[in-house]
């Protein structure tokens, strides 16, 4: 039995926002795969919940006229993984969300919840950072958009205000056209696993596929929040695809990461994994892009 004090099933986003405004103790719940676990643990015992679960307006995935991909925040991981709109354009994101938890979790958990939870281990976060997604929020004052690079304010904290509902994630066409990427999750087992470290690498090659035109590297669990590695990205621009670059990238990302030294994994271990995953993800992304790494 869950210790839930009150529960309001919203009829719409507007209704959800109104309910959050009405009850200053209320919090939103979507798939419930985090909130209910925290309630069971006692962290939210006696919680007041406003449910946006199942709202049709939050479950849409579409491509706008200019090519912008719009993913409703209530889309489940399973839905994103199987989306014919997303699969050909952002396969990295589709594969990343397929690595969350278990089939049951992926059928219930939503990408909006994954982002709003604000944790560094969220499996969708490195990909969304590398895709420079825009997050659309609806609150009592109306709608606003926040770049994901400005979203995280600390461990488990985001710029979302309590009365705001994240409604959609938007990915602009210039973020995916011509780009190839890989997300590599490192966990201690192959399923039902929280990320020990996750690395997303996206690459855009020169027209002759001999050089890096642009690079994005993003990590989860390598710092208090999901992070990008702008210096490492910059050093690769214009460089030929060779082993020296692979090696240098692996070394350089470490200067941009601040992993925790915790009982789950030591800092030294996370550094080793971060270095290796960056290299492997970069290699695979280059191959996906039709390039080859030369000795």
């Amino acid at each position: 039995m869950y210790d839930i004090q009150s529960y309001h099933q919203a009829a719409s986003v507007a209704d959800a926002v109104a309910a959050l405004v009405r009850d200053p103790e209320a919090m939103p719940i979507a798939g419930g795969t985090d909130v209910l676990i925290q309630t069971r643990e006692g962290r939210h015992a006696g919680c007041h919940l406003v449910s946006i679960h199942g709202l049709p307006e939050l479950r849409e995935i579409r491509r706008e006229a200019d090519g912008t991909l719009v993913i409703g925040s209530g889309c489940t991981f399973s839905q994103i993984h199987a989306s014919p709109v997303l699969r050909p354009r952002v396969p990295m994101l589709c594969d990343a969300v397929d690595q969350v938890g278990s089939p049951q979790i992926r059928n219930m958990g939503t990408i909006g919840g994954n982002v709003c939870n604000g944790v560094t281990s969220a499996d969708s976060a490195p990909s969304l950072l590398a895709l420079e997604a825009q997050l659309e929020l609806t609150g009592p004052e109306g709608v606003r958009r926040v770049p994901i690079l400005e979203w995280y304010t600390g461990p488990g904290r985001t710029v979302r205000r309590r009365e705001e509902i994240l409604t959609a994630l938007r990915i602009a066409p210039e973020q995916y056209e011509g780009w190839y990427g890989r997300y590599l999750k490192y966990g201690k087992r192959e399923a039902m696993e929280i990320s020990t470290l996750g690395c997303a690498v996206r690459v855009k090659l020169s027209p002759d596929r001999q050089r890096v035109e642009a690079l994005r590297i993003a990590y989860g669990v390598a710092a208090p929040t999901p992070v990008r590695c702008p210096e490492s990205e910059a050093l690769a621009v214009g460089r030929p695809l060779d082993e020296a670059l692979v090696k240098e990238l692996g070394q350089h990302v470490l200067t941009e990461l601040q992993p925790r030294d915790s009982w789950r994994a030591s800092k030294a271990f996370r550094f080793q994994i971060a270095r290796e995953l960056c290299r492997r993800a970069f290699r695979q992304a280059v191959i996906d892009a039709g390039g080859a790494i030369h000795a």
Binding site: M1, G42, A191, W263, R264, F269, R275, E276
Partner: protein
């Protein structure tokens, strides 16, 4: 013939359909819910409780604390009671404790109308403690000046034991030849949890002077005795009911919370109380496989002869005795029972109290730990002299006819060498050992093996007794009642097969009562020690023979023949000479029930006291791929080969092996309950405690060498626990083969491997 056939499980239909009843399905009317309050320090004294806020929570009925309970110490392990005081289990538990001995110790209990109210109240209870510095390791707890965890054991050593084989000491043997290769190693195993699917759960209530406890347990008759010892009630006034259970693996071979639940009900006028643990409480507050450290020396001649070994084992008991030293004592037996040391073997074992979670029984009872030590040492010694480790085992391993010089348990049947040969062929040992020599690069492969031996039941260390009752139904079928328990291993199915086989009935004519009710079912100590198909199987056979004799006696009367002329086969009374059917058992049964001349209700009940034992054995072969920069081990192929005598039901045997291999994989690679320096568990949940998932599990190959054992009731010997034993050292040895790096502690988790590979120069930046 039903023995040896893969008949379907008798409980398969009910379990698949969801109609099988487990403890929580049997809820009595209007029960209350109990929630145990656990200490938030690992060592110290409870000074006071502040209960006001908790008592004010709506729905709270009553709160009991450690200051309310009887000061009667009781034992918890599921051993047969000993009539000799010196051999009785250590009684070191109270229902609730003032002196806290591990993080999560039971200090109070809330009883409420529902679990939300109970949880709210439990969170609001504030406790004043006098904390002491906790001891997490044997070194800390036995250091000079350490505070006693239990006053009765001032040096914190619960028990010690040892033995010495050979004409000389280890030291003398090591010095006896100039050219011996000697290794000094420490092999360390970790605490792990059983992770049975169903948490410990019970209902308790009292009516008409009888205290009833329904519990998820392996050992209902022992639960009755211990509830009696803890509450002071006469044992006959206690009734324990054991329905289907969702796994136990030894954790439920301990009397966990039944005594507290019974006592809570008694305080509330006998009202039904439910006490169900959460997964987190199961990790923190029940039992663990002991972490044992083995300080081992080994001396080997360059021709591959094992000359001498010495082992000192330190077993981390945690806060309470539970099964105590029996496990460490069994662990060191693994050294003598697996190899022949030419000159000397010295072993000693210490079991020490510490302030971590309590060690108890878990599938293998000390042998998974010692198998890791003996089998890692074997590969390390073989490597040191450049010998194939399989050849080393053939040369020095235990042979047919072995008899333990102390317990006198023998390999009555012996299939170890054949099992090793079979595994060797299945894994392609010789080809892979050659192929994976001298590899380079970040991804490398290796193949490793380990072997074990394991006794069947606990004779002569403890009592082995079992009983069975058979009752004839009017249709000529039989109701079989056992004190032995079905815990998922398939006991009901193989007992049914045994009854059918020996009586001469078809399997459809055998009904087995799966629920044990200590008011009704005959006595048996329960499911543990891989004993039931052997020990309780003897009771089935003895009872079935008596039952058959009574049917034949009645049939002789009905048919007007002499009983010597009759036999019972295929549900028919037949002419013993030519097998010709004379009358169906069903007809005889109707006559027996309703005869106006001689009505007789045919039943049989027998006790079988088992005074024999025999070793089972086997081995595991594993082929692995090691991703060196990521510290990951992928098991490509894994084979267990078992020498367990005649297989009663080959499919069930295979399933038993699969389950054990899965536990072995977790033990090898990922499972470990960890503690911070305050003794608080860090990962006592299924998120951070890394139980392998289906995707982490390769195809599990189970194979057997079937050598019928003459002491087994149907040629069978132990199989329940053995499959969990050899996997971890086989995988460890495969990683050694792949990388040249010897990992001497479990589990082989990625962080440990990356550190070891970095130290060995296998990872560059």
């Amino acid at each position: 013939m039903t023995i040896g056939r893969s008949v379907p499980r008798v409980d398969a239909r009910d379990k698949a359909a969801g109609t099988a009843k487990y403890t929580s399905d049997l809820e009595p009317r209007s029960y209350l819910v109990a929630k145990v309050v656990h200490s938030t320090i690992a060592f110290g004294e409870v000074k006071a409780f502040h209960l006001e806020e908790a008592l004010a929570v709506p729905g709270v009925v009553k709160i009991f604390t450690c200051f309310d309970v009887p000061q009667t110490l009781y034992p918890t392990p599921g051993h047969p009671w000993s009539v000799e005081e010196a051999h009785q289990d250590v009684a070191d538990r109270l229902l609730l404790e003032r002196r806290v001995r591990f993080y999560g110790d039971d200090i109070a209990a809330v009883v409420a109308e529902d679990d939300v109210a109970a949880a709210r109240a439990a969170r609001l209870i504030r406790v004043d403690y006098e904390p002491f510095q906790p001891y997490l390791t044997p070194e800390q707890t036995t250091a000079p000046g350490a505070k006693p965890i239990h006053a009765e054991k001032p040096d914190n050593i619960l028990a010690r034991s040892g033995f010495h084989l050979g004409e000389m000491s280890y030291e003398e043997a090591e010095a006896s030849e100039p050219d011996l290769v000697v290794l000094h190693k420490t092999y360390q195993t970790q605490p792990v949890q059983h992770c049975h699917l169903e948490p410990p759960v019970s209902f308790a209530w009292q009516e008409d002077g009888k205290l009833t406890v329904v519990s998820s347990t392996q050992i209902p008759h022992i639960v009755r005795r211990v509830v009696g010892q803890a509450t002071g009630l006469p044992w006959g006034s206690i009734r324990v009911i054991k329905p289907y259970i969702g796994g136990g693996f030894g954790n439920k071979q301990d009397v966990l919370y039944e005594p507290l639940n019974a006592w809570l009900s008694l305080q509330l006028g006998g009202r039904p109380v439910k006490l169900e643990l959460s997964r987190e409480e199961t990790f923190t507050c029940t039992r663990l496989r002991h972490a044992i450290g083995f300080h081992v020396d080994g001396a080997v001649r360059r021709d591959g002869t094992l000359v001498a070994r010495r082992c000192e084992a330190w077993s981390n008991q945690g806060g309470y005795a539970s099964h105590g030293h029996a496990i460490a004592a069994n662990a060191i037996n693994g050294f003598k029972q697996l190899y022949r040391d030419e000159k000397a073997l010295e072993c000693s074992a210490y079991t020490v109290y510490t302030n971590i979670g309590v060690g108890g029984a878990m599938r293998g009872y000390g042998i998974p730990q010692s198998c890791f030590a003996t089998e890692a040492l074997t590969d390390d010694l073989a490597l040191a002299i450049g010998m194939d480790p399989l050849e080393f085992r053939r040369k020095n391993g235990i042979q047919a006819g072995y008899e333990d010089p102390h317990t006198h348990i023998r390999f009555v049947s012996y299939g170890l060498a054949a099992a090793v040969q079979k595994g060797r062929e299945m894994i392609h040992w010789d080809a892979l050992r050659e192929r994976y020599r001298d590899q380079t690069g970040p991804i490398r492969r290796g193949v490793g093996m380990a072997m074990f031996c394991y006794k069947t039941g606990v004779y002569p260390i403890s009592l082995e007794t079992a009983s069975c009752r058979m009752v004839l139904h009017q249709d000529g079928s039989v109701q079989v009642q056992m004190g032995a328990t079905e815990i998922g291993q398939g006991a009901d199915t193989v007992f049914s097969q045994m009854a059918a086989e020996t009586i001469g009935l078809s399997l459809e004519k055998v009904h087995i009562s799966t629920v044990q009710d200590t008011d009704i079912t005959p006595f048996d100590t329960g499911a543990y020690a891989s004993r039931q198909s052997y020990v309780s199987g003897m009771a089935v056979k003895k009872t079935a023979l008596a039952f058959k004799a009574r049917i034949l006696d009645y049939a002789a009367y009905v048919l007007g023949r002499s009983v010597e002329e009759l036999d019972l086969r295929d549900d028919q009374i037949v002419d013993a000479a030519d097998g010709a059917p004379l009358r169906s058992v069903a007809d005889v049964a109707v006559e027996a029930f309703y005869s106006l001349d001689r009505s007789e209700h045919i039943t049989a009940e027998e006790t079988s006291q088992c005074k024999v034992n025999t070793f089972a054995s086997g081995c595991c072969f594993a082929e692995v791929e090691v991703d060196i920069p990521l510290g990951k081990v992928k098991v490509l192929h894994i084979v267990n080969v078992h020498d367990s005598g005649t297989l009663l039901n080959p499919k069930l045997a295979e399933a038993q092996v699969h389950g054990g291999m899965s536990m072995g994989l977790g033990y090898a690679l990922s499972e470990e309950l960890r503690y911070d320096d305050k003794g608080r568990p860090l990962n006592g949940d299924l998120l951070d405690y890394k139980l392998p998932t289906a995707l982490d599990t390769p195809e599990l190959q189970a194979a057997f060498v079937e050598v019928p054992d003459p002491t087994g009731p149907y040629g069978n010997k132990a199989l329940g626990e053995p499959p969990a034993i050899p996997g971890a050292p086989a995988i460890r040895n495969a990683v050694l083969h792949a990388t040249g790096v010897a990992i001497d502690s479990l589990p082989l988790d990625p962080q440990k491997l990356v550190a070891a590979f970095t130290a060995a120069g296998l990872i560059d930046d």
